[in-house]
């Protein structure tokens, strides 16, 4: 190297490169997988009787092979599903045709009246996955909204912002009560 040449001042190069690095890191969408998490029930022992569930404790959602919906035997629209599910699971006025409640002692929340309601979801083998996921999405929306409301009420924060034990407590008070029935086979082949 020639001694006398004044080199370009490159000390800021590192800063620029770090800037670029952070820029790309933040803007590039690194395929984060998003979706809806669910838990499958363990397989039933073959000779076990079905648990007795009262009619008022169950809300039947059926999807047929043409992606149309039936709520407790009535034709319904997907737009109404969230409110129907909320009304069913929440039962704020303790109506006699909506689910019973069980008093439970939950840490951090104290005595809570937990709904015994279960949403029974049945689809056809010809139902599209898209429709099924929309229904799951609406049910998730209903449960998330209820959890948010309870978290706001008890902890003054959104469900997403509270601590882990608080979240567990709310999960216990408002469980994901969705049961899936064996699908029907009407739309099997086109």
């Amino acid at each position: 190297m020639a001694r006398k040449t004044p080199g370009l001042n490159t000390s800021s190069m590192a800063d620029i490169s770090f800037l670029l690095l952070t820029f790309f890191l933040m803007t590039s969408s690194i395929n984060t997988d998003q979706g809806i998490a669910r838990r499958l029930p363990p397989p039933l022992p073959p000779n076990q009787d079905k648990p007795e569930v009262r009619e008022r404790n169950i809300f039947v959602v059926k999807i047929n092979s043409k992606d149309r919906l039936l709520y407790n035997g009535e034709i319904g629209r997907i737009e109404d599903l969230k409110d129907r599910a909320k009304e069913f699971l929440g039962n704020p006025e303790d109506k006699s045709n909506l689910p019973e409640k069980e008093t439970m002692n939950i840490d951090l929340l104290g005595e809570m009246r937990v709904s015994k309601g279960v949403i029974s979801l049945q689809n056809d083998r010809g139902t599209s996955y898209d429709m099924y996921l929309q229904v799951q999405n609406e049910l998730a929306a209903a449960i998330n909204e209820m959890r948010n409301e309870l978290a706001m009420d008890r902890f003054g924060q959104k469900y997403a912002d509270i601590t882990e034990p608080q979240r567990d407590a709310i999960d216990q008070a408002i469980p994901i009560a969705i049961s899936e029935a064996e699908p029907t086979k009407i739309g099997e082949k086109k």
Binding site: M1, A2, K4, T5, P6, G7, L8, T10, M13, A14, S17, F18, L20, L21, F24, L25, S28, I30, N31, T32, D33, Q34, G35, I36, A37, R38, R39, L40, P41, P42, P43, I78, N123, D124, R125, G126, T127, S128, Y129, D130, M131, Y132, L133, Q134, Q136, N137, A140, A141, N144, P183, K185, G187, E188
Partner: protein
């Protein structure tokens, strides 16, 4: 270097190459981060449905993927146009799922095994019959934690 030895030669400032390595490393890391995300080539076409209530999938190392969709154009001669399942790098049958789950379990530390999540990445036009079959197999295999992949957005219909 003869150029610089002449007394009257105009002095050209030398480029400092010191930070070049930084830049190269930066690029290297950048591409490393990006490329690790694509684990296997997809043989099936998947457009995941949209939903408003999506959450992020956590602990990526504990996730195994089941891809469901119609085979790509180049694969259709071999596998037809009906929806198929892709496990790892090949098209598979529903009956292969139990073995797949066992292999995924075996690849993890014992303590992590109960937390393995199976992500079902299915095309939105898939019929539920196939998805139900997959779910039944997963129940039999003891993989109860599942995840329906979806995009964030308004309703897709």
């Amino acid at each position: 270097m003869a150029r610089f030895t002449g007394k009257k030669a105009k002095e050209t400032p030398a480029l400092n190459m010191g930070s070049m390595s930084d830049i190269i490393f930066m690029l290297l890391f950048f591409f490393m981060v990006i490329t690790t995300m694509r684990e296997s080539t997809l043989y099936v076409k998947i457009v995941v449905p949209q939903g408003t209530e999506v959450s992020k999938l956590e602990k990526k190392s504990l996730v195994s993927y089941i891809n469901v969709g119609t085979p790509m154009k180049e694969q259709q001669a071999k596998y037809g146009t009906d929806s198929r399942i892709q496990l790892n790098d090949q098209i598979a049958e529903v009956s292969d799922i139990i073995q797949f789950v066992e292999m995924e379990k075996a690849a993890r530390v014992e303590a992590d095994r109960p937390f393995i999540t199976t992500a079902i990445k299915a095309d939105k036009d898939t019929k539920m019959g196939l998805i139900s079959d997959i779910k039944q197999e997963l129940r039999k295999a003891g993989a109860f934690k599942i995840f329906y992949n979806a995009r964030k957005g308004e309703r897709g219909r």
